[in-house]
């Protein structure tokens, strides 16, 4: 089943064209990577998928709904089915970690306080945070912890679809590998579909099923990592040199 379908997406900021006709599809249960050099518009594409930014033209379908032209209820429904992890966590600074994670649960479900506390403790535990961290404020923790807490918040509603913006950047190598393992585990158990922007080679080889490499406003390569050596692109040749 197709989770996400990107069709002829064009993005322009004023006269500056960022994407010039992107096409790819992401299937259910896949871990899909968006790669490319800095400034190629990976994060912009991710933002377009989660309806934070408008497309100039083209179409992005998520779970069969065109996000460029969507009714409010459908959009809200879609937002409940995905979780988004921003590059720097984007935790609400006036709330503790526990309150950050409990926020969507409290707003969208009728779960009891006790149950929510347990869910919060569970989510903190799977991302590798301690239960006692729950009462800290985002300003009191390190960047890596903010990221883990951001993931815990993204996972709060058990989403079907997870968008991750550079999930392992800023994490120590051990945490980064644990993060990769967690993503794989969650995919295996919950059938999660994951879309991530990343630069971490280890993470790319360990977790990604397929990738889209954006270079020069277009898709330079799309598919599995096995055939990547054959592609004639300066970015790909340089980036993947170590493993080739």
């Amino acid at each position: 089943m197709q989770m996400i379908k990107v069709e002829n997406v064009v993005t322009a900021f004023g006269n500056r064209i960022i994407h010039d006709g992107l096409n790819f599809t992401i299937k259910e249960g896949e871990i899909y990577g968006l790669l490319g050099p800095s400034g190629c518009g990976k994060t912009t594409l991710l933002r377009e998928m989660v309806m934070l930014q408008k497309l100039t033209s083209g179409k992005i379908e998520i779970l069969g709904k065109n996000v460029a032209d969507i009714r409010r209820e459908d959009a809200q429904n879609l937002r409940r089915q995905w979780g988004v992890l921003f590059q720097f966590g984007a935790l609400f600074s006036s709330l503790t970690l526990a309150e950050n994670i409990a926020l969507p649960l409290g707003e969208y479900t009728r779960l009891s306080k006790k149950m929510i506390d347990e869910i919060v403790a569970f989510k903190l535990s799977i991302v590798g945070l301690k239960q006692s961290d729950a009462f800290l404020y985002p300003s009191e923790i390190s960047g890596g912890m903010r990221k883990k807490a951001g993931l815990a918040r993204a996972l709060a509603m058990d989403p079907k679809l997870l968008f991750l913006d550079e999930p392992t950047s800023g994490l120590d190598p051990i945490s980064a590998r644990e993060f990769d393992a967690l993503i794989l585990k969650l995919r295996a158990m919950l059938g999660l579909t994951v879309v991530m922007v990343t630069h971490d080679l280890r993470s790319i080889y360990d977790t990604l099923d397929r990738v889209a490499i954006i270079d020069n406003k277009q898709i330079a390569y799309e598919g599995t990592l096995d055939d990547i050596a054959s592609v004639k692109s300066e970015f790909i040749q340089t980036f993947f040199r170590e493993k080739l």
């Binding site: 600074s93 006790k114 506390d117 869910i119 569970f122 006692s132 300003s139 058990d158 919950l190 059938g191």
Partner: protein, 370 residues
């Protein structure tokens, strides 16, 4: 997808059967359904997940809780699906160390009082430290004309004074108008029309124009200083400046203070003119005092010292507004709420400081016979 939860109870056996899809939206419903069941007589509980297709982690926590809750009885879990089992296992692993009694530390009454006073003391000593730094950098940078950052000062004068001219002018014009209008009515009763000039002249020059200007500037520039410097602190721009050897005091603090000190007397002067203009219009309309007569009397009865007293206050007010605004900006903590909190504080404190300062001036000048 169907979502079914059925309960069968035969003698000492209880069968809890979950079918279809089970997610966080169903859990509360199931919890309620289960709460209505008498379980004291039951010895064996079977949780049947054989027909369950989907289970999210919240539902898995629910199942885990059931197992724990009935741990005194014999609980059997019937589940053969690998995926569901691994989800349950993940929950079990992670919930093993869960302790519901871990709560944030509550402070006792005495601790709270102590904390409040210590915070005040801390705030006060931080303010003293800020003043010390300000004085030290004054010594360092103002000893030579070369060190003064004219460009930044000019920029700040434009930002916080030139652009504030219209609002200061309008506010003081309206104040002049209102004061004159209210007193015209009273003076008319006694036939003391002409004395409106004395009254307006002294009250506007000495008190109203400086204080009104200071309040407008505290609301406009004081808050802007706090918000600007506070957000620069959050985005680590201040840290970046320090590592590059640009002293924030020289680049951000002194130019703003100096700019406001220069600009304030000018703004007060404008406020004087506009307020008197407002009064003059009302006097002409209401009390038929012609502008010529008004100005003639103004120059005869209102001594120049009243005007200078008002102007002299300007730099002092400016210093208070700017230092409080900047100080509040510099103590912003690393979260967004802190900016709002400190901005509010900076405006309130600046206005309060201005009024206290004005009171001190008032007493001092009166005792000096000025």
């Amino acid at each position: 997808m169907k979502k079914v939860f059925s309960i069968e109870s035969i003698d000492e056996n209880l069968l809890l059967k979950f079918e279809g899809k089970m997610s966080l939206y169903e859990v509360t419903k199931y919890e309620r359904k289960l709460a209505g069941i008498q379980t004291t007589a039951i010895k064996n509980i079977t949780i049947d997940l054989t027909n369950l297709d989907e289970l999210d982690t919240t539902a898995a926590i629910f199942i885990y809780n059931l197992q724990k809750e009935f741990s005194s009885k014999k609980v059997t879990l019937e589940c053969y699906d690998e995926k569901l089992l691994s989800t349950l296992e993940l929950v079990q692993e992670n919930m093993l160390h869960y302790n519901e009694n871990v709560k944030p530390q509550k402070l006792s009454f005495l601790q709270k009082i102590g904390k409040i006073f210590y915070d005040y003391y801390d705030g006060f000593s931080a303010f003293i430290e800020f003043f010390g730094q300000l004085f030290a950098s004054n010594l360092r940078y103002l000893t030579s004309l070369k060190n003064i950052r004219y460009k930044e000062i000019a920029f700040e004068i434009n930002e916080s004074a030139i652009k504030a001219l219209p609002i200061v002018a309008l506010t003081s014009f309206l104040i002049g108008l209102v004061i004159a209008y209210q007193s015209a009515y009273q003076l008319k009763i006694y036939g003391a029309n002409i004395y409106i000039v004395d009254m307006l002249g002294i009250s506007i020059f000495r008190e109203l124009a400086p204080v009104i200007t200071a309040i407008v500037i505290a609301g406009r520039s004081g808050s802007a200083f706090t918000a600007q410097i506070g957000s620069m602190k959050i985005t680590q721009e201040l840290d970046a400046m320090k590592t590059m050897g640009f002293e924030p005091f020289a680049f951000l603090v002194l130019p703003r203070i100096i700019a406001l000190i220069i600009a304030m007397p000018i703004l007060i002067f404008v406020a004087d003119i506009m307020a008197i203009l407002g009064g003059m219009i009302v006097s002409n309309v209401d009390l038929s005092i012609s502008p010529e007569l008004f100005i003639d009397r103004l120059s005869r009865v209102v001594a120049a010292k009243h005007f200078f007293v008002g102007i002299i206050k300007g730099p002092f007010f400016a210093f208070l507004i700017a230092t409080i605004g900047i100080y509040r900006g510099l103590i912003v903590k690393d979260d967004t709420q802190s900016i709002g909190f400190n901005t509010t504080k900076s405006v309130v404190e600046a206005i309060f400081a201005v009024i206290v300062c004005d009171a001190i001036f008032s007493i001092a000048f009166t005792n000096l016979g000025i």
